[in-house]
């Protein structure tokens, strides 16, 4: 009996330790882009605005945030990083209407981060919306699982398509490298 109990506790501990180390990698997805920095951003933007399926679900670009700009303004350097901000009221509205999960507005708008690393390569990061949604009940879980499916379409890198032009913000970025030019979204 004692052996079984010790084994159970050891198993639980091992699981907790394993989750502690694995969770940071599970919460976010990172993939390498086969294209350059600007072209990767442009392809993501056009995946969003040019896909009828996503358009029908209300997805629209809501900004292009440049946190590196703020660092440069203070005299510093970081490798280029930009976040394509995108939102759909179809998904945001039910969450924003529900007081019990309204704090999840902190995750809005949905972001796709594009950045360069010290190996000179360009990477794309997204939040693992499907997994995160599971922690917040069935309503949010259902919404986030749909968002996760749509996110896969955001980051399709199809080399058979020519490089599209980057969609630049329509207004000057706000202080702090904020996004601008929200033509739609949340």
């Amino acid at each position: 009996m004692l052996k079984a109990f010790v084994g159970f506790v050891a198993g639980v501990l091992a699981t907790v330790v394993g989750m502690y180390f694995a969770m940071p990698h599970l919460m976010f997805n990172e993939m390498q882009s086969p294209f350059g920095f600007e072209e990767t951003i442009a392809r993501i933007q056009h995946n969003i605005v040019g896909n009828p399926e996503l358009k029908a679900k209300g997805w629209a670009l809501s900004g292009l945030r440049d946190p590196a700009r703020a660092v440069a303004a203070e005299g510093g350097n970081v490798l280029p990083v930009k976040m394509v901000e995108v939102c759909s009221t179809r998904y945001s509205k039910p969450i924003l209407k529900d007081d019990t999960v309204r704090y999840l507005s902190i995750l809005m708008p949905c972001k796709v981060s594009v950045y360069k690393k010290n190996d000179g390569k360009v990477y794309i990061a997204t939040m693992n919306a499907g997994l995160m949604g599971k922690f917040f009940g069935p309503t949010v879980g259902e919404i986030m699982s749909q968002v996760a499916e749509d996110q896969k379409l955001f980051v399709v890198m199809d080399p058979s398509k020519p490089a599209p032009p980057m969609i630049l913000p329509t207004a000057a970025p706000a202080a702090g490298g904020g996004g601008a030019g929200a033509a739609g979204g949340c």
Binding site: G36, F37, E38, E39, I41, A42, R43, V71, A72, A73, E74, G75, G76, N77, L79, P80, K116, K117, N118, D119, G120, P162, A163, P164, P165, M166
Partner: protein, 544 residues
């Protein structure tokens, strides 16, 4: 005499400035530098000179007026690479310079003189018969203009436009005729803008060639270059490229790979002042560990973590082999990339652009060997237009950051040599006019009097450029982890051979063995010490 005093003042204040380069803006040292600059301003107002109070019709007329006072200036300029476009490398014996080298950007000057010589410090170099001995052909204004209105366009053989001109042709954009009187009356010291009017635009456009030189350095922020920052030390190019008798030090044909150290005012010195060490010395860090690194690693390797950081992309690839394609209507066309830059041009082929480029790193001892037109090449291999020599064992090399520019360009299949081709001209043989490679190459090779087999193909080429500008603030220099033990598994110096780098060169089995030995040694010490203590106590007990 006045000029000498000014030069000494510049040296003096330049040394103060560079010695304090690590200080943030606004410190007393920076303030001293700025005050020094003001004190060293000119004592002459050129707008009051009667020699310059006239309506000049051409550049050479202005030069004749300049030379009435500055009697030696033209002869000084004529001894420099800026004039001759030629350099005899004393180390390799190779005759280099723009006039002789074939690069993998616009490739070669011969047969394209009128176009390329927009960046010559002279007037009228339109063919091989240019008179290099004529003093009035020296262009004073291109370096000494302070109005920002003096502009030399490609296709005018080094002259500015004397009447309103549509440029580029058929673009609808008008370049105003230069007001030579105004420019001549407002001459001054060279500046980032005047030097940059050519050096920022090398290779045919802003930032194209060097990557660490582009127009973002005209008014750079501190993050882009701590020395040239407009709100900081505000160095001009001449602060480091300390010029004497119009001879500007600093060469990409024979770079200084391992500078000796500080250059002191008043001391007889033949070293290159355009080096980090000439101001900062060879042991600039407070931490000795970093100084030992500096014996084998160029300052630029850590302090220029990326180039093309000013928002202007640099070209990283130029494939001439695709040039000449026409659209369905038989007309040349262009394709733009995601940022609106040209990714293809019928005149020039395919391009690739990039910002924030991570340099490549090599051992470099200052010797550069060129593949010249007469050099035999192996078309099955990538041809190195210039080879940077160096080794961890020769005692003369440091690890340097470089930009490697890759491309494809034509070569003579019969002779296995690079070819000169005629890109621009008012004739019908130029590539950019008729898109006919055969005619363009025949014309170019005839221009230089070289043999041509009549058959050409394209060969892959590489050209290397040392990265020396865009020095980041010290807090943005590379950290230990970017070379040693990178968490990502990728280190900056992974491709640099012949050196042991803890972390990069780690072997898990060897590490385990080493740590095991260390642990055993520690255990041995503890056990041995413990036993000694125990036996000592026992002896004391027995004695008592």
């Amino acid at each position: 005499m006045r000029k000498d005093l000014t030069s000494y003042a510049l040296v003096f204040f330049g040394l103060i400035a560079t010695a304090q380069a690590a200080d943030p803006p606004g410190t007393p040292s920076a303030a001293v530098v700025m005050a020094g600059r003001t004190a060293a301003s000119s004592t002459a107002d050129h707008s009051k000179f009667k020699e310059l109070d006239r309506d000049f019709k051409s550049g050479p007329e202005v030069t004749r007026a300049c030379l009435q006072c500055h009697t030696e200036a033209a002869r000084q300029v004529m001894r420099t690479k800026h004039w001759t476009w030629e350099f005899l490398n004393p180390g390799t014996g190779q005759r280099l310079g723009k006039k002789n080298v074939i690069n993998n950007f616009c490739t070669a000057v011969p047969s394209n003189y009128e176009f390329c010589t927009a960046c010559h410090v002279g007037y009228g170099w339109k063919d091989a018969n240019f008179d290099f001995s004529s003093e009035q052909n020296v262009d004073c204004l291109v370096c000494h203009d302070t109005t920002g209105t003096y502009r030399k366009l490609p296709g005018f053989a080094g002259h500015p436009v004397y009447q309103d001109t549509e440029f580029p042709p058929k673009s609808g954009k008008i370049v105003k005729a230069v007001d030579l009187k105004k420019v001549a009356q407002h001459v001054g010291k060279s500046s980032r803008k005047t030097c940059g009017s050519c050096h920022f635009f090398g290779g045919g456009g802003d930032g194209v060639k060097h990557g660490d030189l582009d127009s973002s350095l005209t008014q750079p922020g501190r993050h882009l270059d701590v020395h040239m920052a407009k709100d900081g030390l505000n160095f001009s190019c001449g602060t480091c490229h300390l010029t004497s008798g119009h001879d500007v030090p600093g060469s990409r044909y024979a770079p200084t790979a391992m500078p000796k150290g500080r250059i002191i005012r008043g001391q007889k010195e033949t070293g290159n002042p355009a080096s980090c060490e000439s101001c900062h010395g060879v042991e600039p860090h407070a931490m000795q560990r970093l100084n030992t690194h500096a014996r084998k690693i160029a300052c630029q390797t850590c302090h220029i973590p990326e180039y093309a950081r000013g928002g202007i992309p640099t070209k990283t690839l130029w494939d001439w082999s695709t040039a000449g394609r026409l659209d369905k209507e038989g007309k040349p066309f262009k394709v733009k990339d995601s940022t609106g830059r040209e990714a293809y041009d019928s005149k020039k082929g395919d391009f690739r652009w990039e910002t924030h480029v991570i340099p490549e790193y090599i051992w470099f001892n200052g010797t550069v060997n060129y593949t010249l037109r007469e050099t035999r090449l192996d078309p099955t291999q990538v041809v190195k237009i210039n080879s940077f020599e160096g080794s961890p064992m020769d005692g003369r090399s440091k690890i340097w950051p470089i930009k490697v520019f890759r491309g494809k360009q034509p070569y003579d299949v019969g002779h296995n040599q690079l070819v000169v081709f005629h890109t621009w001209g008012k004739d019908d043989a130029a590539l950019w006019t008729n898109f006919n490679w055969e005619r363009a190459i025949e014309w170019g090779m005839r221009e230089i009097g070289a043999q041509y087999s009549g058959k050409f193909a394209f060969v892959a080429t590489e050209m290397s450029w040392p990265i020396t500008h865009m020095v980041a603030p010290k807090e943005d220099a590379l950290g230990c982890a970017q070379c040693h033990a990178p968490a990502t598994g990728v280190g900056r110096l992974d491709q640099v051979p012949g050196v042991y780098i803890p972390g990069r060169s780690a072997n898990r089995a060897l590490d385990t063995f080493g740590w095991g030995l260390s642990a055993l040694a520690l255990l041995g010490v503890l056990v041995h010490g413990g036993l000694r203590i125990l036996t000592a106590r026992k002896r004391e007990g027995d004695t008592a």
